[in-house]
C-alpha cells in the first residue's frame, strides 16, 4: 500500500516538472551571477507552492518560537541565497533524474523555517575526553537519544530539527541522530559526512534483537605464538614406533569419517537454526530511508573509510550489506549527490568526492581541499586565491551554521540515557544500561543472556557496578548452577579479587582469588569444598606454593547444638614447595605431608638435577614427644628413609630426631595458619554479607555535585561566614549596650525600663546629632572669620606687599575657600541625614528583640 501511495506524488512531480521544464532550461544556460540567481528565485517561486514539494510547505512551528534565537527563526541573506541555489539544484536534479527520489536539501527546522542541511551541522568539540574518539561520540549519541522512526519509512523527513532541540528533548529521527553525531565528529577532527540513503529494516528501526550482543563477543586475544626453533640439528629421534601402521591408518580413516559425519550434521543443524532465525522478508527492502555517518580516512589516523550507524553506535565497513544505497552526503561545507549505481548495495562505491562523475557537488570550489593535508591546503588556498583574483572574484561558501553552540551538561554526560536507563534487546540477550548513582547498589550495566530466542529462560546474569564502597566490579550469576562469581577491584581488605560461591555460608563450596602481590602471605587463591581447602601461593620467600587441607567429619559429641564452634578435625595437610637453589636438593623439601589422623609425617625432598627418584623421609610421631623425660620416646624404627645416593653416609639418629622435632613444630605452625585462614574466610564472608545488606557508594572528593560531605562542609563554612558577618554587624550596632550597662545589664526589662531606655537612646542620638551639627557649624564660622580677617589685613597692606606675599595670600585664600566649601557641604548633608538617622534608630529600637514586646 505504502509503495503505491508513494508513487503518486512522484508522478505528479514529474508532470509538474515538465511544465517548468523550459524555463529551467533557459535558466541553466544563464546560471551564475547573483542577479540572475535572484531572478531565478523569483521565477521559481511558483514551483515552491506546487504540491510536488510538500516538504517545502511552511509547517506549524512547535512550541513558543520566541524562546529560540534569531538564527533559528530567520534566514540571513546568505542563507536565503543558499536556499535559492539549493532549490535551483533540486529542480535541475529532478529534471535530469526524474526517476530518482527527491533529495533532502532544505527541510524546515523546529521553528518552521527552511534551513539547508549542511548549515544544521555545527562542528563542536566538547570538553569531555570520551567525546574525543568516534567510539565515544557514537556510543554517547546512541545512548543519549531515543529514536523516533520515520513516518512514512520510505521518505526522507520534512523536518530536520537542530541538535540543540534534539539534545533538549533527547528524541530524534535517524537524520537528527546523524546530524548530532556528525557535528561531534567534525568537531573532534574527523572527516565525517552525513549520509542519506537506504538500509535494512533492522537498522532503520534499531532492532538489534538478531545481533550478537557486543558484550558477549569474546575478547580478541593477541595470539603470540612462540616461534620455537623448528629445525634442531641434534634433536633426538623418537623411539621406534612398534605399532602397525596399517591399523593406524584404518583407525584414522574411521575417525575421519565420523568427524565428517558429525561436522555435516552440525552444519545442517546450524543451517536449520539460521533458517529459523532469519527474519521474514521485508516488503520495503531497499526503500527504507536511513541516515548514517560516513567517516573518510585521512584525518585522525583513520586508516580506512567506514560507516557509523548512529542509532546503535556501531561501526561498519563501507562494504557492509546492511546499507543498501546512498542518495546524497553532506558535511558542514558542501553537499554531494551520489551518481554511482547502488542497485547492488554500497559495496562497490568509491568515496572520492572530487570526482564529479561519481559525486555531483552543490557548491563548487569548497570541497577540493577537504582531503588534503594542511600544508597542501594552504598552498592550494594560496593558489586558489590567486585564481580567484584572476578569474572568479567570489566563490559562494557555505554560510555559518545557524545552530547555536552544542552544549551537553555534566549531568547529561553522566546519566547518558533518557531517564538514566536504557534497555537494549540483542539476540538471546538483553542489556540494561543505567546511569551511575541512579540505583542504590551502584549497578551500571546488566547483561542477561537467555537459552532461547524468545528470552524467557535466563541463563546468565552479568552485572557491572561502579563506585561501590566494597569495590565490587562485576557479578555473574549462572542460573542453572546458581553459582555467583564476583570480581572486585584492588583495595579490599584481604586483597580479595574474585569470589565464586553458591551461598555465603562458610564451609561450603567456593573459590576465592586474591591479589597475591598485595598480601603478605602471597596467597593467590583458595578453593574450598565442604571437606577440603586448597590454597596456592605466589612468590613466597619460603618457596611454599601449595597447601591442601583435608578435613574429617565433625564430631558433635560435646556441643551438638552449636556445630559452628566445634573445629573440624584435620585429617591431612599437604604442603608443596618450589626448589630453593641455595640448598642442596636432597635437603630441600619438595612436599611435606602431615597425616594427622595417622600420626605420621612424610617428607619428600626435591630431586637432584639428573635424578628421577627423590629422597624421602617418613616419620611416625612419638606420642609424647614434647616430654624430654621420656628417654625412650624416639627409636630409629620411627623413621623410614630412602636415600638416593647409595654412597652417602646414612643419616644419624640425632639428625633424624632433630628433623622430626622441627617438623612437629612446623606442624603446629601449619595448624595455626590453617585456623587463621578459616578465620579469614569467615571474616570475608561476614564482611560480604554486611556489605551486601547495606550497599554504600563511594563518591569521589572531586565530584562536587554528589559529595554530600564536601557539600555540607562547604555549606557549613558559608553559613559560618554569614553568621560571622551578621554577628559583627550586630556587635557594631548594638546601640543599647551602653544604656543597658547603665542599668546594670539586667536579664529582662520591664515596660517602663524599656520605654525609658528607648527615650534615652533616642535622646542621646539627638544630642549627638546636634552636637555634631554644632561642631561643624562652629568650625565653619571659625574658618570664615579667619578668612575675613585675612582679607581685611590684605586690603590694608595691599600696597606694601611683595609679590611673594601676595602669592602666599592668594594660595591661602583658595585653600580656605576650599575648606569652607567642604564644611558647608558637610553641614548641609548632616542636616539632611540627621532626621533619617533618627528615624532609623527608632525603627531599629522597635525591632530590637529586647525591647520589641514592650513597645508593641
Amino acid at each position: 500500500m505504502e509503495v503505491l501511495l508513494e508513487v503518486e506524488p512522484e508522478l505528479e512531480e514529474a508532470e509538474l516538472l515538465q511544465e517548468v521544464d523550459e524555463e529551467e532550461e533557459e535558466e541553466e544556460e544563464e546560471d551564475e551571477g547573483l542577479r540572475e540567481l535572484r531572478e531565478l528565485e523569483e521565477t521559481l517561486s511558483r514551483v515552491r507552492i506546487a504540491p510536488s514539494a510538500p516538504h517545502l510547505l511552511v509547517q506549524k512551528a512547535e512550541g513558543d518560537q520566541s524562546e529560540w534565537p534569531v538564527s533559528f527563526r530567520q534566514n540571513s541573506t546568505r542563507e536565503k541565497l543558499l536556499l535559492a541555489m539549493a532549490d535551483n539544484f533540486r529542480c535541475q536534479y529532478a529534471h535530469l533524474y526524474p526517476d530518482r527520489k527527491p533529495l533532502l536539501l532544505c527541510p524546515v527546522n523546529e521553528c518552521g523555517v527552511q534551513k539547508f542541511v549542511s548549515t544544521t551541522l555545527r562542528p563542536t568539540l566538547l570538553p569531555y575526553p570520551e567525546l574525543y574518539h568516534w567510539q565515544g561520540c557514537a556510543s554517547f549519541v546512541s545512548d543519549f537519544l531515543s529514536l523516533e522512526p520515520l513516518d512514512p519509512p520510505v521518505d526522507p523527513p520534512h523536518k530536520l530539527r537542530s541538535p540543540t532541540w534534539v539534545l533538549r528533548t533527547q528524541r530524534g529521527t535517524c537524520f537528527e541522530f546523524s546530524t548530532l553525531l556528525c557535528s561531534l565528529l567534525l568537531g573532534a577532527g574527523y572527516n565525517a559526512y552525513c549520509v542519506s540513503g537506504y538500509a535494512v529494516k533492522q537498522m532503520c528501526l534499531l532492532n538489534q534483537s538478531r545481533q550478537e550482543c557486543p558484550l558477549l563477543k569474546p575478547q580478541v586475544k593477541e595470539e603470540l605464538e612462540e616461534q620455537k626453533q623448528d629445525v634442531r640439528k641434534y634433536s633426538v629421534k623418537p623411539p621406534r614406533d612398534l605399532q602397525s601402521s596399517f591399523e593406524h591408518r584404518q583407525e584414522e580413516k574411521r575417525q575421519e569419517d565420523t568427524r565428517i559425519a558429525l561436522l555435516s550434521k552440525q552444519q545442517e543443524a546450524q543451517r536449520l537454526q539460521e533458517e529459523r532465525e532469519r527474519p521474514p522478508l521485508d516488503p520495503l527492502l531497499g526503500l527504507r530511508v536511513h541516515c548514517w555517518v560516513l567517516v573518510l580516512s585521512g584525518n585522525r589516523e583513520v586508516p580506512e573509510n567506514f560507516f557509523i550507524d548512529p542509532l546503535a553506535g556501531h561501526s561498519y565497513p563501507t562494504t557492509s550489506e546492511k546499507f543498501l544505497g546512498i542518495e546524497s552526503i553532506w558535511n558542514h561545507q558542501n553537499y554531494w549527490v551520489n551518481m554511482q549505481d547502488c542497485r547492488f548495495g554500497c559495496a562497490e562505491m568509491t568515496y572520492d568526492l572530487a570526482d564529479p562523475v561519481k559525486w555531483e557537488y552543490l557548491l563548487c570550489g569548497s570541497n577540493q581541499s577537504t582531503l588534503l593535508i594542511p600544508d597542501m591546503k594552504k598552498q592550494q588556498e594560496a593558489e586558489k586565491e590567486e585564481d580567484e583574483e584572476t578569474e572568479e572574484p567570489k566563490v559562494f561558501e557555505m554560510p555559518p551554521s545557524w545552530v547555536s553552540k552544542i552544549h551537553i551538561s555534566q549531568e547529561d554526560m553522566e546519566s547518558r540515557c533518557p531517564g538514566g536507563t536504557k534497555l537494549i534487546q540483542y539476540r538471546a540477550a538483553t542489556v540494561e544500561k543505567i546511569a551511575p548513582y541512579l540505583l542504590k547498589d551502584g549497578l551500571v550495566t546488566r547483561l542477561t543472556t537467555y537459552d532461547d530466542l524468545e528470552c524467557t529462560q535466563p541463563n546468565t546474569v552479568r552485572e557491572w557496578y561502579k563506585h561501590r564502597h566494597d569495590h565490587l566490579d562485576e557479578r555473574e550469576l549462572k542460573k542453572a548452577t546458581n553459582v555467583t562469581v564476583e570480581h572486585f577491584r584492588p583495595g579490599r581488605s584481604y586483597a580479595l579479587k574474585c569470589h565464586r560461591y553458591v551461598t555465603l555460608v562458610p564451609e561450603t563450596e567456593r573459590q576465592m582469588d586474591f591479589y597475591s602481590h598485595a598480601r603478605a602471605d602471597g596467597l593467590a587463591s583458595r578453593v574450598e569444598t565442604p571437606s577440603e581447602i586448597t590454597e596456592t601461593f605466589i612468590d613466597r620467600p619460603d618457596f611454599l606454593h601449595y597447601r591442601h587441607v583435608v578435613y574429617g567429619k565433625r564430631e558433635l559429641g560435646e556441643m551438638p547444638n552449636n556445630p559452628e564452634q566445634v573445629q573440624r578435625p584435620i585429617q591431612k595437610v599437604v604442603e608443596r614447595f618450589h626448589r630453593d637453589r641455595s640448598k642442596a636438593a636432597s635437603e630441600d623439601v619438595a612436599e611435606r605431608e602431615f597425616l594427622l589422623s595417622e600420626d605420621r609425617i612424610q617428607v619428600t625432598y626435591h630431586k637432584e638435577e639428573d635424578r628421577i627418584i627423590p629422597a624421602w623421609r617418613n616419620f611416625i610421631k612419638p606420642h609424647d614427644a614434647g616430654d624430654s623425660q621420656n628417654a625412650n620416646a624416639f627409636t630409629p624404627q620411627m623413621a623410614s628413609i630412602f636415600q638416593v645416593d647409595p654412597f652417602k653416609k646414612p643419616c644419624k639418629n640425632l639428625f633424624l630426631y632433630k628433623t622430626l622435632m622441627a617438623l612437629m613444630k612446623e606442624e603446629e605452625n601449619v595448624l595455626m595458619r590453617i585456623k587463621d585462614s578459616e578465620k579469614e574466610v569467615r571474616a570475608i564472608l561476614a564482611a560480604r554479607q554486611q556489605e551486601e545488606s547495606a550497599v554504600e557508594l563511594q563518591i569521589s572528593i572531586y565530584n562536587t555535585a554528589r559529595n554530600e560531605k564536601a557539600r555540607c562542609h562547604r555549606e557549613a563554612l558559608e553559613c559560618l561566614a554569614e553568621d560571622e558577618l551578621l554577628r559583627k554587624e550586630e556587635k557594631e550596632l548594638d546601640v543599647l549596650a551602653p544604656f543597658l550597662a547603665r542599668l546594670g545589664d539586667p536579664e529582662s526589662l520591664t515596660q517602663q525600663e524599656a520605654l525609658q531606655l528607648r527615650t534615652d537612646c533616642l535622646a542621646e542620638l539627638k544630642q549627638r546629632l546636634i552636637d555634631r551639627a554644632n561642631l561643624i557649624q562652629a568650625r565653619f564660622e571659625e574658618e570664615t572669620q579667619e578668612l575675613q580677617q585675612k582679607q581685611q589685613w590684605y586690603q590694608k597692606n595691599q600696597l606694601a606687599m611683595t609679590k611673594d606675599d601676595e602669592d602666599e595670600y592668594l594660595a591661602y585664600c583658595s585653600n580656605a575657600m576650599f575648606r569652607i566649601n567642604i564644611l558647608k557641604l558637610r553641614l548641609s548633608r548632616h542636616k539632611d541625614k540627621a532626621p533619617q538617622k533618627y528615624l532609623a534608630l527608632d525603627e531599629k529600637l522597635r525591632r530590637d528583640p529586647r525591647l520589641a514586646h514592650h513597645l508593641w
Binding site: 639428573d610 628421577i612 630412602f642 647409595p646 639418629n653
Partner: protein, 522 residues
C-alpha cells in the same frame, strides 16, 4: 691482662678438654642421649666455646672442620695460630687475651664477626682475605694511628666497628675521620653513627676522600681493562689463532734470527722486508679472521648439540620421574595394606603380585634409559662427524695459508740471496758506495759465508712458520678429541648413575617387602 686471678697455671687444649666441652655444649635431653649412643664426631660440631680456661696456645682444633662459631675469649692466648683448618668459621671471639699481632686468619674467608676486644694489638693488618667481615671489634687495644682505619675500607660489608678504648679515640677528629673513611658504617663504638657526623665528615675530608675514590676508581678501571684484554686473548686462543692479528709472527721470525739485522743493512733489503712484512701480515690476518668465524661456528655447533641432548635428557628424566612417583604412591598404599593384612595366604599373593610390579617398574625404567642411550649415541655420532668436518675444513684452510707463507718466505729468500750475491760482487769489485758496518762486512769475506748466513736466516724463518702451524694443528686436534671424549665420558657417567639409581631404588623396595614378610612370619 687485667685479670684479677692470674695465678692459675696456663693450660693446653687437649683431648680431655675438648671431649668435655663438646659433650657439655652438645645436644641435651633426648637428643643428648641419641648423641651419646652414636658418639659425636668432631667434624660435625658447629659451635665450640672454650672461654675462661686459661688457655695459652691454640691447638688441636684441626678436626673441627665444620665449626662456624668459636669462642676463645678470656684466656691468655698470645698468638693467633692453629685456626687454618676451620674454614667454615663465621664467628670468632678472641677477646680478653694477650694477642699482640693480627695474623693467621688468612684461611677463614667466611668470617663475618671478629672480636679482638681487650688485647694488645697496635696495628690492624693481615686481614686481606676476610672479605665478608661485617662486625669487627678491636676495642681496648693499643691502636694509636688513625691510618689504621683506612685499612678497613676494603671490607665492603662492614657495618659495625668498635674501636673504643684505643689511644686513637683521644684524638679530636677521631669520630669524623672514621665516618669519613668508612662511609657504609652504621654503628661505631656501640652507637649509631648519626647523619650529622656523617655530613660533617663528608665536608671535612672531601678532598682526601675524592682523591682516594679517584684512585680506587682508576685501579678498578685498569683491572677491568686488563680483564677485557685477557678475555680477548682467551677468545683468540680458543679459536687457535692468537697473535695472528698483527705482525707478531713476522716479528718472532726475525727475533731469533741473528743474521737478519746484518742482512737488513744490505741495500734494497729494507723495501724487500717491508713488502714481505705486509704480505705476511695480510696472510696472518686472513687466518685470524677465518679462525674467529670458524670458532663461532664450532661454538654454535657445540651449543646446539648440548642444548638438544640436555632437552632429550630432561624429557626422558621427566617421564621416568613420573613413573617412579606413581609407583612410589601405589607402593606406600600397598605397604600400608600389607602391614594391616592378617591372612598369610592373601599376604603372600599380594606380595608376589607386588614383586612382579617391582620388576615391571625396573624394566620400564631400564627401557627408558636404554632408549635414551640409543638416541644419544646416534646424536653424538652425528656431532662427532660434524665437528671433525668443521675442524678438518679449518685445518685445511690454515695449511693452505701456511703454505702460502712458506712460498712467501722462499720468494723472499731468493730475492735476498740475489741481493746478497749482487752486493758480494760489488764488494769484490769494490764498487759499493754505501758504508757497511764491520760485522756486516765480515759476511762478505767469501761467498760461502754469505750464502750460509742467508740460508740460516731462511731456515729459522721456515722453522718458525712450521712451529706455528704445528702448534695450531696440535691444539685444535687435542681440543676436538678432548671434547668428544668428555662428551662420551659424561654420557657413560650419566648412564651408570641412572642405572645405579634405579637399582638402588628397586633394591630398597625389595628389602622393604622382605622385611614386612619377615615380620609377618615371625
Amino acid at each position: 691482662m687485667n685479670r684479677l686471678f692470674d695465678t692459675a697455671a696456663p693450660s693446653v687444649i687437649d683431648e680431655k678438654m675438648l671431649r668435655k666441652a663438646v659433650q657439655e655444649q652438645g645436644p641435651q635431653g633426648q637428643a643428648g642421649r641419641l648423641a651419646k649412643e652414636e658418639g659425636i664426631q668432631y667434624n660435625e660440631v658447629i659451635q665450640l666455646c672454650l672461654e675462661l680456661r686459661n688457655i695459652l696456645k691454640i691447638g688441636h682444633l684441626w678436626e673441627f672442620t665444620s665449626l662456624t662459631k668459636l669462642q676463645l675469649n678470656n684466656n691468655i692466648i698470645e698468638k693467633i695460630q692453629g685456626l687454618e683448618k676451620l674454614t667454615n668459621l663465621v664467628w670468632l671471639d678472641l677477646s680478653f687475651n694477650n694477642i699482640e699481632v693480627i695474623e693467621g686468619l688468612d684461611s677463614l674467608v667466611k668470617l663475618q664477626n671478629l672480636s679482638l676486644f681487650n688485647n694488645r694489638i697496635s696495628v690492624i693488618e693481615n686481614m686481606d682475605a676476610l672479605g665478608n667481615l661485617q662486625i669487627v671489634s678491636v676495642g681496648n687495644n693499643l691502636i694509636s694511628q688513625l691510618d689504621n682505619v683506612i685499612y678497613l675500607r676494603k671490607f665492603k660489608e662492614l657495618h659495625t666497628l668498635n674501636l673504643a678504648g684505643n689511644p686513637i679515640c683521644q684524638e679530636e677528629n677521631y669520630k669524623i675521620f672514621v665516618a669519613a673513611y668508612l662511609s657504609d658504617l652504621v654503628y661505631l663504638d656501640y652507637r649509631l653513627l648519626d647523619e650529622q657526623t656523617r655530613e660533617k665528615a663528608c665536608v671535612e675530608y672531601q678532598y682526601a676522600l675524592e682523591e682516594m675514590r679517584l684512585n680506587e676508581l682508576q685501579e678498578q678501571k685498569e683491572i677491568e681493562a686488563q680483564k677485557i684484554t685477557e678475555q680477548e686473548l682467551q677468545l683468540h686462543k680458543d679459536a687457535f689463532v692468537e697473535l695472528l692479528n698483527g705482525p707478531h709472527l713476522f716479528d718472532s721470525m726475525f727475533a731469533d734470527d741473528a743474521d737478519a739485522p746484518k742482512l737488513a743493512c744490505l741495500p734494497g733489503v729494507t723495501t724487500l722486508l717491508e713488502s714481505y712484512k705486509t704480505q705476511l701480515v695480510a696472510l696472518c690476518m686472513q687466518m685470524f679472521e677465518a679462525g674467529l668465524t670458524q670458532h663461532a661456528r664450532r661454538q654454535n655447533e657445540v651449543e646446539s648439540f648440548f642444548s638438544c641432548s640436555r632437552e632429550a635428557e630432561a624429557d626422558n628424566q621427566q617421564r621416568a620421574a613420573q613413573i617412579a612417583a606413581d609407583f612410589e604412591r601405589s607402593r606406600r598404599q600397598v605397604m600400608a595394606e600389607m602391614q594391616k593384612a592378617t591372612d598369610t595366604k592373601l599376604l603372600e599373593a599380594q606380595a608376589s603380585k607386588y614383586s612382579d610390579e617391582i620388576s615391571q617398574l625396573c624394566d620400564t625404567l631400564m627401557t627408558l634409559e636404554l632408549q635414551l642411550v640409543d638416541q644419544l649415541e646416534d646424536v653424538i655420532k652425528d656431532f662427532e662427524r660434524n665437528i671433525s668436518d668443521l675442524v678438518g675444513g679449518f685445518t685445511e684452510y690454515v695449511q693452505g695459508i701456511f703454505a702460502q707463507c712458506r712460498d712467501l718466505e722462499n720468494h723472499h729468500h731468493e730475492k735476498l740471496l740475489e741481493i746478497a750475491v749482487a752486493t758480494l760482487d760489488r764488494v769484490a769489485k769494490n764498487e759499493l758506495e754505501e758504508d757497511l758496518p764491520d760485522d756486516v762486512r765480515m759476511l762478505f769475506v767469501d761467498k760461502d759465508t754469505l750464502i750460509n748466513a742467508v740460508s740460516a736466516s731462511h731456515d729459522t724463518h721456515l722453522l718458525k712458520i712450521d712451529n706455528r702451524e704445528d702448534e695450531l694443528m696440535m691444539r685444535i686436534n687435542s681440543w676436538m678429541s678432548a671434547l668428544i671424549k668428555s662428551i662420551q665420558d659424561e654420557e657413560v657417567k650419566r648412564n651408570r648413575k641412572r642405572i645405579s639409581e634405579i637399582h638402588n631404588y628397586v633394591d630398597f623396595v625389595k628389602d622393604q617387602l622382605e622385611e614386612i614378610l619377615l615380620e609377618e612370619h615371625q
